[in-house]
């Protein structure tokens, strides 16, 4: 059986913590690996607040959490400016850092891709959706 809960906040950095709290409780309840799931969600929501809404508060951010015994799916939705086509695909895989050319930025999409098994993006009818999923070993626990 699949079960779904949707979490919604306004686009404010201070509210992202509430999403983390709720997600942490869900991971605990369902014995999911909380660390990579929280990273993926927080990075996706950070991007919505920062890029889709340009740091403007008061806009909606939704996180749909869908649990099936063998798969967790997260869908992060916004009504802001869509991500440029190809941007997600262009995000590099994790690689050894170059100490001489360390950038303080641009790890969000890369982290999301490394924490989840599938990552897709769709902009449609004014709603943008980043869909991520991760296979769960049956009985996988924290």
């Amino acid at each position: 059986m699949t079960r779904t809960i949707t979490l919604a906040i306004e686009s404010q950095a201070e509210c992202i913590e509430l999403l983390s709290g709720a997600l942490g409780g869900l991971c605990r309840l369902l014995a999911l690996p909380a660390a990579p799931i929280e990273i993926a969600m927080v990075e996706a929501v950070n991007n919505v607040v920062e890029h889709a809404y340009h740091g403007e508060p008061g806009h909606p951010v939704w996180v749909e959490f869908e649990w099936a015994p063998n798969r967790l799916s997260l869908r992060v939705r916004d009504r802001g400016q869509p991500m440029a086509p190809g941007r997600l695909e262009a995000a590099p895989a994790l690689a050894d850092p170059d100490p001489a050319a360390l950038s303080p930025r641009s790890r969000g999409l890369t982290l999301i891709k490394s924490c989840m098994d599938t990552v897709e993006y769709e902009a449609r009818d004014g709603v943008n959706t980043l869909s991520m999923s991760r296979a769960l070993a049956t009985g996988e626990s924290v």
Binding site: V42, N46, L102, P104, L111
Partner: protein, 111 residues
């Protein structure tokens, strides 16, 4: 996010506690850059009490690292919490940052 700061033999020791995330990153970055600016560029950052960190938090560490190096100093990370350790290892930044589990060893490195 709580930041405490003390100085031992000219080496700055700052400890963070709480969640190092986008909401807190600008403030923490500024404080750390001030500490580096006013000191010798030798900073030990205690992360034992950082329960969660995202890429904004990582970028604060990178900024502090670069500022310290620019002053011919260095950044040492002390006591990584499990969440911080896993993020740093995921991004392979343990290849860049000096990481210690012992304050004396971190002090020795920066002395």
């Amino acid at each position: 996010m709580i930041l405490t700061h003390r100085i031992i033999e000219g080496i700055d020791i700052a400890a963070l506690s709480g969640r190092l995330v986008m909401a807190d990153a600008p403030q923490v970055r500024q404080k750390l850059l001030e500490i580096i600016e006013q000191g010798n560029g030798k900073l030990i950052l205690n992360l034992a009490e950082v329960g969660f960190m995202d890429s904004s938090g990582l970028s604060v560490l990178v900024s502090a690292f670069k500022a310290a190096r620019a002053k011919s100093g260095d950044l040492a990370l002390l006591y990584l919490s499990p969440a911080v350790r896993s993020l740093i290892e995921l991004t392979r930044l343990q290849q860049v940052f000096a990481i210690f589990d012992d304050e004396a060893a971190a002090l020795a490195r920066l002395r």
